[in-house]
């Protein structure tokens, strides 16, 4: 089981590495986006697929780190070596504050994170003197640390690929660790976990902050790719799409969120070229996924494998 997964991952990695040579800049750009948003989706899945918490505010951490990098580099001329870690830090700190939300469960948690997400969007939108309002912050330069300067889109693509690959490995270790198992235990039965000696609130808080850090990293990668950031990055559709990507691809897995990201972004690109009602199409994808494929693609694949008689995962 593990070997075939490892082979699959290596094949995927190779495919990604060769992409710029096989396809044009358009596909490479799409692949970069897919990786970045896949990471954002992954961050929501740490909470959803493992701890059972459905967060609707992860775009906040994504956007706040992006804004931090942008403002530091563009307005204060800070170097990447300062701006990028600062972005990561600020986003994570916000997650530490929003982590208060884990004092609630179930529906309340969903609603509270939705509302918290709106705070950031609202601030980005209205505090125009600082955030640039609807126009956001533009002209973010390519990242440069000392002698290492990224000067092309291709170069940035490989940087993102390397970061994502490293993240995926680290995330995999995390979910297989005692901490990851504890999260799944809380999802399965929080009362049992408490009686076994786990301080579940603390575990969930730690998970929330960790997931916020991952989302912040995605935000840093995003702002250097997009070269600008505006309030849309903090908006509700971004948060909910991230969760949808995780679900479509398959929650509780490492590959699922990236698969889901590829599907959703691919769909968007394909549909918007001939049909104007993209949001409606996305809405239908939401509905269809809930009704017919709640396990996502990975779940579908697993069920097909089980039906074909191969040993269950």
């Amino acid at each position: 089981m593990d070997r075939s997964r490892a082979v699959l991952a290596l094949v995927a990695l190779a495919a990604f590495a060769l992409l710029p040579f096989a396809a044009g800049p358009f596909w490479m750009g799409l692949a970069t986006q897919m990786l970045i948003f896949g990471l954002l989706a992954l961050s929501t899945d740490l909470l959803l697929g493992h701890a059972g918490l459905f967060s609707l505010c992860h775009a906040s951490f994504f956007a706040v780190s992006a804004y931090t990098v942008a403002i530091l580099q563009v307005r204060y001329g800070a170097p990447t070596a300062l701006a990028a870690p600062a972005g990561l830090l600020v986003g994570t700190l916000l997650a530490a504050v929003f982590g208060l939300a884990v004092r609630t469960r179930g529906v309340y948690f969903i609603l509270v994170t939705l509302a918290l997400g709106y705070v950031v969007w609202g601030v980005a939108h209205r505090w125009s003197s600082f955030t640039g309002g609807d126009n956001g912050v533009t002209n973010v330069p390519f990242p440069a640390v000392g002698p290492f300067r990224i000067e092309t889109h291709t170069g940035y693509y490989y940087l993102v690929l390397a970061v994502i690959a490293a993240c995926a490995l680290a995330y995999r270790a995390l979910v297989r660790s005692p901490f990851g198992l504890a999260l799944r235990g809380i999802k399965a039965s929080e009362s049992r976990m408490r009686s076994l000696g786990y301080r579940t609130g603390l575990h969930l808080y730690a998970a929330f902050v960790l997931s916020g850090a991952i989302a912040s990293l995605a935000g840093v990668l995003y702002v250097y790719y997009n070269r600008f950031v505006n309030p849309v990055s903090a908006s509700f559709p971004v948060s909910v799409e991230a969760v949808l990507m995780a679900i479509v691809g398959g929650t509780g897995t490492v590959l699922g969120p990236f698969l889901g990201s590829a599907i959703i972004l691919g769909l968007r690109n394909w549909v918007s070229s001939f049909f104007e009602l993209y949001a409606a199409v996305l809405g239908i994808v939401f509905i269809a996924t809930v009704l017919w494929a709640p396990d996502g693609i990975m779940g579908l694949a697993r069920r097909l494998r089980e039906r074909a008689g191969v040993a269950p995962a």
Partner: protein, 286 residues
């Protein structure tokens, strides 16, 4: 001083509107354990339809009714064909209804366009009136406060003093028990859901006359309604009233005193509540 009072009335008029929207949402959850994120889209659609009806007929009353009824039909269809399949899976309900909201929002965009539109205020309610104490205030907003109060009073009487209300309250506390007494629970659900939809659609028309209607409004109003419900507690009608007042007043004063941070002012008390009473002021178990 007058400014402060004016802001208070602003806040109360917003509270009236939010109450119309939040009461349906909270009762739907309390009774049917359904989280319907399309409520904001219901508001917007109701508003747009009311707008078209008002333009065609010149009647604001007709617009209110049309907006409400259109959403009732839509809401029943969503319940029957979509929400019924999700049982009590809140995650599924949220995703499903967000999807519905996306569809409604996009379709509305195609039909009514992206401009900021206003539902025409009826002639009798235009302009300003003089309030006791000498303050001059837009008549329409006063009428809105009256509407909210009347609806609130009616709902309260219905909820607390009638037999149907007693059944709904019992159902909010224990659905199985109500079903066991032989009452047609399905019909009850349909009625409550229809009422919630009607209120949302009507709120859209009422709100569309002083706040504007535009793509994205459905999410902004939903978030406000959700904060009302969080503060007041899911499933509590009284909580929705208190929550609406809190949110309305905070928004008015926030916009007046700290316009750049007004959203923050609004959500800070919610954060505080999370620290102290995660279940809201009067909430039932989620």
């Amino acid at each position: 001083m007058t400014s402060a009072i004016l802001q208070a009335i602003n806040g109360i008029s917003l509270a009236a509107l939010l109450f119309l929207l939040a009461s349906g949402f909270t009762l739907s959850f309390g009774l049917m354990r359904v989280v319907n994120m399309a409520h904001g889209a219901y508001y917007l659609l109701g508003g747009y339809i009311g707008l078209s009806v008002a333009r065609a007929t010149g009647s604001f009353a007709a617009a209110l009714v049309a907006g409400g009824l259109a959403v009732v039909v839509l809401g029943l269809a969503v319940d029957r064909f979509l929400l019924r399949r999700t049982g009590e899976n809140h995650l599924a309900q949220v995703l499903l209804t967000v999807g519905v909201a996306f569809v409604i929002g996009d379709v509305a965009l195609r039909i009514w366009g992206g401009d900021f539109l206003k539902v025409p205020v009826p002639v009798s309610l235009r302009g300003a009136m003089e309030l006791p104490g000498g303050l001059v205030y837009p008549t329409y907003r006063v009428a809105l406060i009256l509407l909210g109060t009347v609806v609130g009073a009616l709902l309260w009487i219905l909820y607390r003093k009638t037999q149907i209300g007693a059944v709904v309250r019992a159902g909010v506390d224990d659905r199985e028990q109500v079903a066991a007494t032989g009452i047609n629970v399905d019909r009850l659900f349909v009625m409550v859901s229809a009422l919630a939809s009607f209120l949302a659609g009507m709120a859209g028309v009422a709100g569309g006359a002083f706040l504007t209607l535009y793509p994205g409004a459905e999410w902004e109003i939903l978030v406000y309604a959700l904060v009302v419900v969080i503060v007041g507690g899911l499933g509590s009608l009284g909580g929705a009233m208190i929550g609406a007042l809190v949110v309305g007043l905070l928004d008015a004063y926030g916009r007046w005193l700290l316009p750049e941070f007004s959203y923050f002012v609004l959500f800070a008390p919610m954060a505080l509540l999370l620290l102290v009473r995660p279940r809201g002021i009067a909430g039932k178990d989620a």
